[in-house]
């Protein structure tokens, strides 16, 4: 993401109105990203499918959207929120996104890290063997339903 955009977003996040862009962002419930309440994500109907999936998933009691989809420490977390908030509000407004919505490689990696973060003790043995390339065990390869499907 380009620095100027970034600055503008941080501004929005601090609640300083910065023109129509910011207003739209707010109107579109972009501020959802400041909350960890799944309903916040559902403010966009295009998220309904994932929300419904989450309600059916084994994680509904144990993990919220942001637990999986956002990083969990420091500035990184806020940057990601800004990044999501901006891209998604923009996409939603312009309706220029591809459906079905597909997770980006970067966001997928964020999720994987969160899987391991919560399940570290349980999976320590299987993630232990290091490997030259493509080293990390991809949880979603088998648990693609996690968070959004029955049994996961």
């Amino acid at each position: 993401m380009k620095p100027p955009v970034l600055a503008a977003l941080l501004a929005c996040l601090l609640g300083i109105p910065a023109g129509v862009g910011a207003f739209t962002f707010v109107y579109a419930k972009g501020f959802s990203y400041l909350s960890s309440d799944p309903n916040a994500c559902r403010n966009c109907h295009v998220m309904n499918e994932q929300f419904d999936g989450w309600l059916k998933s084994g994680h509904r009691h144990t993990a919220t959207c942001v637990d999986c989809h956002l990083p969990h420490e420091g500035l990184e977390k806020w940057l990601a929120k800004a990044d999501h908030g901006f891209r998604h509000s923009m996409a939603f407004t312009l309706q220029n996104f591809k459906e079905p919505i597909e997770i980006t490689p970067h966001d997928r990696e964020l999720v994987r890290v969160n899987c391991v973060r919560c399940h570290a003790s349980f999976v320590q043995a299987v993630v232990a063997p290091s490997h030259a390339r493509g080293a990390e065990l991809d949880c979603m390869h088998c648990h693609a339903g996690a968070g959004h499907g029955a049994g996961g």
Binding site: P129, H131, A132, A135, H141, A144
Partner: protein
């Protein structure tokens, strides 16, 4: 952004606690087992029975005797193997624990001369290779291959200890330092290199260039493949330089002018196909979707508060909830029914192909009896070689069609076509026929 993530990866990985040291020399799984008891316990279970509708059939430790005789279950096998060691003894496979024992017991070894090459896939043999190769595995491999089987199998080191003591063991698939997966079989290292080169990837070093997910199949591809012993050096070789489809491998053998044996009934120079699971799996949708052998045959299993890989390598149908259900949210009996539908359809077609091939043998035998010359018989014999290669390739593959249903049905269709055309050629040259 990513750097933070990478750092956290390291935190997530805790090193194994080791109670004993394991090294390149440690071929005894029991020793590894003291560090990794869960994997070891499941590994030991490979001595238990694993029969399914079409799979396994091993009798298991309870009975030290051999597995079921395939030659009796499928009498046509004796016909197509006529004149070859496989006609004397060819049984169902069973668990890894039997790998060495079954090789020593088979009449193919007891009644026929076999080379040390056989040991590449049935024993934990790195110590043997290093000893014979003066520390160099590759050289040891080359020197062991041409030795008589008994000599190689019973070699002792300087301390007078047997060099071959275990079937496939931990050190054959794992780096004792990091425990990362690795490939140790020289024939695979060379074979996959040739295959990748054919696919446009030059200088492929499997232990350097393969991804972790690829290694979850490559460790199996070390042995579950079609092979031949090349030249008088008897080098165990995987014929993949043209690719791994049945036609590619056939083309390779044609170019090499290779023949396993001359058929006892017809005099045709024919080929023997062995367990091409790795090649066939690559033709199926699962490989295409990145699903590895270990995903299905070594699924993760919860042991108390830990998740480990089930080293009881066996039929996934004995383990559907772990082997399949993480990816297929479908009832267990429905998943088994899907496999059975594929396998029954495949088995029926396999039998039809066997009938066509046996008809061809009969036709050539009849033509010979009626005095047809070798020259006259040549077209029919050539088609026998093609048909039999395809039939055997599919019959020797151990998933009864599951690994690549459409591809294997195509191969059988071609076998039928070749067999019947061969029959037409034989009839054509049968005097007074």
């Amino acid at each position: 952004l990513l750097t933070n993530i990478f750092e956290r990866r390291q935190e997530a990985r805790q090193p194994f606690v080791r109670v004993v040291e394991v090294t390149e020399e440690t071929d005894d799984p029991a020793v590894w087992g003291r560090n990794w008891p869960f994997e070891y316990d499941s590994y030991l279970r490979t001595s238990l029975p694993t029969a399914t509708r079409y799979g396994g059939r091993g009798l298991g430790a309870s009975d030290a005797g051999p597995a079921e005789q395939k030659l009796d279950k499928e009498p046509w096998l004796r016909r197509i193997f006529a004149g070859y060691a496989f006609a004397s003894d060819y049984r169902d496979r069973r668990g890894h624990a039997f790998a060495l024992f079954d090789q020593e017991q088979t009449l193919r070894v007891k009644q026929h001369k076999q080379p040390g090459a056989c040991l590449q896939c049935h024993a934990s043999n790195l110590n043997l290779y290093r000893f014979v190769g003066d520390g160099d595995v590759q050289r040891g491999f080359e020197r062991v291959n041409p030795m008589p089987y008994e000599e190689a199998r019973n070699l002792k080191d300087d301390r007078g200890e047997l060099l071959i003591e275990h079937p496939v063991s931990c050190v054959d698939c794992h780096d004792p330092e990091t425990l990362a997966l690795r490939v140790t079989r020289p024939a695979f290292i060379a074979g996959i290199r040739a295959l990748k080169a054919k696919q446009g990837v030059a200088d492929f070093d499997v232990n350097r260039d393969a991804t972790r997910q690829e290694m979850r199949s490559y460790v199996c591809g070390q042995c579950h493949v079609e092979y031949y012993f090349k030249g008088k050096e008897k080098t165990v070789t995987y014929p993949w330089a043209n690719g791994v489809r049945v036609d590619d491998i056939e083309a390779y053998y044609e170019a090499e002018g290779f023949t396993d044996w001359v058929h006892g009934e017809t005099g045709a120079p024919v080929l023997k196909a062995q367990h091409p699971e790795f090649e066939v799996w690559q033709q199926g949708i699962h490989a295409r979707a990145g699903v590895a052998c270990a995903d299905c045959h070594m699924p993760y299993v919860r042991v108390g508060a830990l998740k480990v890989s089930d080293h009881w390598v066996r039929s996934p149908l004995l383990n559907v909830n772990r082997a399949c259900q993480p990816c297929h949210a479908v009832a267990e009996n429905e998943l088994i029914a899907r496999v059975t539908t594929i396998q029954d359809r495949h088995y029926e077609l396999l039998q039809r192909t066997a009938r066509a091939t046996v008809d061809l043998l009969d036709a050539i035998v009849a033509a010979k009896a009626a005095g047809a010359t070798d020259e006259e018989l040549e077209p029919a014999r050539r088609l026998q070689r093609k048909a039999q290669w395809r039939l055997d390739f599919v019959a020797a593959e151990n998933s009864m069609g599951f690994h690549a249903p459409q591809e294997l049905a195509r191969v059988l269709a071609e076998a039928i076509d070749d067999a019947r055309r061969g029959q037409l050629e034989a009839v054509r040259v049968t005097r007074g026929g």
